[in-house]
Symmetry: C2
Subunit: 235 residues, 2 copies
């Protein structure tokens, strides 16, 4: 690349953390002792299935920006009745909603991040809120330099403001920033604004064989894992 990249911006859900099996585990731990028996992975998929629609309410301006935790709770209330869960206490609903703060990283993430940290500034540019990003980083040993993304931008990806606010926060032109994600759409939104793009394969994000094995459009660099990307970026 002619211009050196100085900062790497990361998508988090799916790219760095395995939301699907983690949410299934957290839901089972909360609900099974209360006598609920259900397909826990289907529950995770259903909860995640409301994700884009909730953010569309904000992106369109129909509702004001609020943290993703608030949207996750709205989505939880939509999904619980579909699975016949009607006797969950308010306290348990709050605890279950914070399952998104207890997701596990894919195994290549901590070592890959520590390699990348030597040369690059690292920040999430996620739709998750700051506290959620902090909790995931502490749980999974991710050495962020700063937490950027939706909460500092006041909007949700793929709206341009989210990517541009992140570059501005680090005083960098977009061409010195690379968006890293397992989702081609996220990368194309960043590329349209001048950011570089790095794709990470997560072929099992939505279950075995149901995830992006590689980029669907041209990107600057593509890796099989974060460690593979770290090597290709010279670290």
């Amino acid at each position: 690349m002619a211009v050196a990249v100085k900062a790497l911006f990361f998508d988090v859900f799916g790219t760095l953390v395995d939301w699907r099996t983690s949410i299934a585990r957290e839901a089972k731990a909360m609900l099974e002792p209360q006598g609920y028996k259900l397909d826990w992975l289907a529950f995770a998929d259903a909860w995640r299935g409301e994700y884009q629609g909730a953010m569309d309410e904000v992106r369109s301006g129909r509702i004001a920006f609020c943290k993703l935790d608030v949207l996750h709770r709205r989505n939880l209330e939509l999904v619980l009745p579909r699975f016949g869960i009607d006797k969950l206490s308010e306290e348990d609903r709050c605890t279950l909603n914070l399952a998104w703060h207890r997701l596990d990283a894919w195994p290549d993430v901590p070592p890959g991040m520590h390699r990348l940290k030597r040369r690059y500034m690292l920040a999430p540019v996620s739709n998750g809120n700051i506290s959620l990003m902090v909790d995931l980083a502490r749980r999974n040993d991710i050495p962020w330099d700063a937490i950027l993304g939706s909460e500092i931008a006041g909007d949700y990806k793929p709206k341009p403001r989210v990517y541009l606010a992140a570059a501005e926060a680090l005083d960098l032109p977009p061409r010195e920033c690379m968006m890293v994600a397992a989702h081609t759409k996220d990368l194309m939104a960043a590329a349209a604004l001048g950011l570089r793009t790095g794709h990470i394969a997560r072929p099992n994000e939505h279950g075995p064989g149901r995830g992006e094995k590689g980029p669907k459009e041209p990107v600057d660099v593509a890796g099989e894992s974060l460690e593979d990307l770290a090597g290709k970026l010279g670290t």
Copy 2:
């Protein structure tokens, strides 16, 4: 303390980094080769001397919020002519202005921070901008969980919004957050909003014997250094 503290918020200039000798060093490195001979510590003091006045323009609403880097540049332009510096190029002015990104931490800071990190969430709640905080952290090995402070609040301490925005970002009530600073005024502003207070002695911040040896008002905890504070906070 009856309620457990979960996050520590840090003042940075003076509390964690020795701005005075670092700015003197940076100014000398830039200006001496160009033939300027001056009292470098006096130059640092003069530049810092414009700090509160510049932020008052924002706090009062006379000018819109801008990053501290912008205020530092405004202040540099005020101070250079006083020292007879009239032939500095635009490029050199930009480089000199970023001297604030190259400050050295007091020696107790890296080990103290790594101890505190085990138990507490750590964030700067500084008037410095995000990129400045990131550069200081990378230079001095400070393991922040997030960068909070003026840039996410859109105002400058000791305005209440800055402390409250930091607590909100971590989803914590003020009583679960402790402001840590070498300046009693900063701590009293935080205490008025319900935050806990931790004082660090920096008796030489403004030169030998010219800094706070201890808190001037009652605080929750006071330390001779960050390592001393880490011990008193059980880490």
